[in-house]
């Protein structure tokens, strides 16, 4: 009997996480897109109507936008990986692994992000240099901090602690029977996680993970204090030569808004497209 005759339920391969049948077509844009369009229109209008100073500001800070986006995206990808490790650690039955993961989460969440960023930029390289001196490792002794690298490390370590808890909650929200069914078929713990639990948990945690991305984008402005020439720092540099705070900081704020509003729409879109049928 032809069991696979095409019908209304015919689906694309499951490997394409983002293409579950029955999910709303993404073409439908919700009303919040108009807010983004409005902000972009406002920026364009300002730039066209008053190129001086607004076009000058945009041109001046544009490499800062690139640095902000780059720092955020790289730190976020690393956060997803480290957060998963932390989250699995928090679920481990092994008391040592559980203890280490919990200690990490509790410590990091108790220290302000700004202090962490400053520590990674100013203190960590000194630690490396002193270790180098003690053990005669010249490459460590001569280590000089790379501001962007240190900023990405600082953001990642901090955000991964929060992400661990999101992963943990997401994994725990999947009914235990899913894992049991997978194990009863002979799959290992890792196989069951990878094929059964995580694909479902990812859909559950998408909204909080999206929030984390946007929060990270905004908090990335803190890296301006550790010598990273991001959007915020470029704004400050522009202002220190021109002394026009209202125009400068309003434009910087609008540029951040474009980035965050756009991210929020992307998250909502991914959410819609990965909904599970039934």
């Amino acid at each position: 009997m032809p069991a696979t005759k095409p019908n209304a339920l015919r689906s694309p391969p499951a490997s394409e996480l983002a293409r579950i049948p029955g999910a709303e077509p993404s073409a439908k844009l919700d009303a919040w897109w108009w807010l983004l369009v409005g902000v972009i229109a406002l920026v364009l209008a300002l730039v066209v109507v008053r190129p001086d100073p607004f076009l000058r500001i945009v041109i001046y800070v544009r490499d800062g936008i690139a640095v902000t986006v780059l720092t955020t995206v790289v730190a976020f990808v690393l956060t997803l990986v480290l957060g998963l490790v932390g989250g699995l650690g928090r679920l481990s039955k092994n008391p040592v692994i559980f203890g280490l993961a919990s200690l990490y989460v509790e410590l990091i969440r108790g220290i302000p992000l700004m202090v962490q960023l400053i520590w990674w930029y100013f203190a960590f390289p000194s630690v490396l240099q002193q270790v180098g001196q003690s053990f005669n490792l010249t490459f460590l002794e001569r280590y000089r901090a790379n501001p962007i690298a240190m900023a990405i490390i600082g953001l990642t370590i901090c955000y991964a602690a929060y992400m661990s808890e999101i992963y943990r909650a997401g994994i725990q929200s999947i009914p235990r029977g899913q894992m049991e069914a997978a194990r009863s078929l002979g799959m290992t713990y890792a196989q069951s996680m990878r094929h059964i639990v995580l694909p479902q948990a990812v859909r559950v945690i998408l909204p909080p993970v999206g929030n984390e991305f946007i929060a990270l984008l905004k908090d990335s402005s803190l890296v301006s204090v550790v010598a990273v020439a991001d959007l915020t720092r470029r704004g400050r540099e522009f202002m220190s030569t021109t002394f026009i705070p209202i125009e400068t900081w309003s434009m910087v704020a609008l540029l951040y808004l474009i980035l965050t509003l756009f991210s929020a729409r992307m998250v909502a879109m991914i959410e819609r497209r990965t909904k599970i049928e039934g």
Binding site: M1, P2, A3, T4, K5, N7, L9, R10, S11, A14, I20, P175, G177, Q178, E180, A181, A182, R183, S184, L185, G186, M187, T188, Q191, H195, I196, P199, Q200, R203, I276, E277, G278
Partner: protein
């Protein structure tokens, strides 16, 4: 011939207070169908779940098809040979019916996609719902989900099938379609251990019926004898509540 399942003096505690299994011993022969009944909390599901080590036990030994359930490798080996069907179906919610049946074949048995697909389609036809191959679990009825769950377990070519109250979560009109699949399986000579109060199924298919209470096997005999002339008071009392 050596029994395919050998359970020796198995004890299981939940926390401090609950002694769920109190020294259970049981042999199941190849091709035998055993039905376990008993009140809620009697340990029957726990015992079943110990056979593929979904539940760890504190004391005693279980040997399945000559493999003792001790190391992680042995446990996975046993699980690949022992199919399990759950009360709540536990189909993988994010995968289609076909993918549900194919996944473990590919990941555990390392079968090629085409072969896994063929096995899955054949089994879907066998359980009577080939037209649901591309549906998702949330789109089909409970009875259909449970039949897919049986097909998913059978796709691994198990030597033993465990059923944990397979019809308890079903609407009445869907029970028969699941029992029919189980009956067919029993008639093919599958070794089955079934926790269920479906007396009709037990009478039609089971070689042995076991009554459990308070973590122990109280009595066992043929289904006919156990249901009509139970030897123990506790069995009588339980049956008087279950049978109308």
């Amino acid at each position: 011939m050596q029994p395919i399942i050998q359970i020796r003096d198995v004890h299981k505690h939940f926390g401090r207070d609950i002694h769920a299994l109190r020294g259970v011993s049981l042999d199941v022969n190849k091709g035998e169908v055993v039905v376990i009944i008993g009140p809620s909390g009697s340990g029957k599901s726990t015992l079943l779940r110990c056979i593929n080590r979904l539940e760890e036990y504190d004391q005693g030994t279980i040997i399945v098809d000559g493999i003792p359930l001790d190391t992680a490798a042995n446990i996975n080996a046993v699980r690949a040979e022992v199919g399990m069907v759950f009360q709540q179906f536990n189909l993988f919610a994010h995968l289609s019916v076909l993918e549900n049946i194919q996944l473990a074949q590919r990941v555990v048995r390392r079968r090629a996609s085409a072969e896994a697909r063929k096995v899955a389609l054949d089994l879907l036809a066998k359980v009577g719902i080939p037209e649901k191959a591309d549906a998702y679990p949330g789109q089909i009825s409970g009875g259909q989900q449970q039949r897919v769950a049986i097909a998913r377990a059978l796709a691994m070519n198990p030597k033993i099938m465990l059923f944990d109250e397979p019809t308890s979560a079903l609407d009445p009109e869907m029970i028969k379609e699941v029992l029919d699949v189980m009956l067919a399986l029993a008639h093919e000579g599958m070794t089955m251990v079934v926790v269920s109060h479906e007396m009709g199924f037990a009478r039609a298919a089971a070689h042995r019926a076991i009554f459990m209470d308070e973590g122990m096997i109280v009595e066992e005999s043929t289904p006919e004898k156990l249901f009509s002339t139970p030897a123990h008071e506790r069995t009588k009392l339980f049956l008087s509540k279950v049978l109308l």
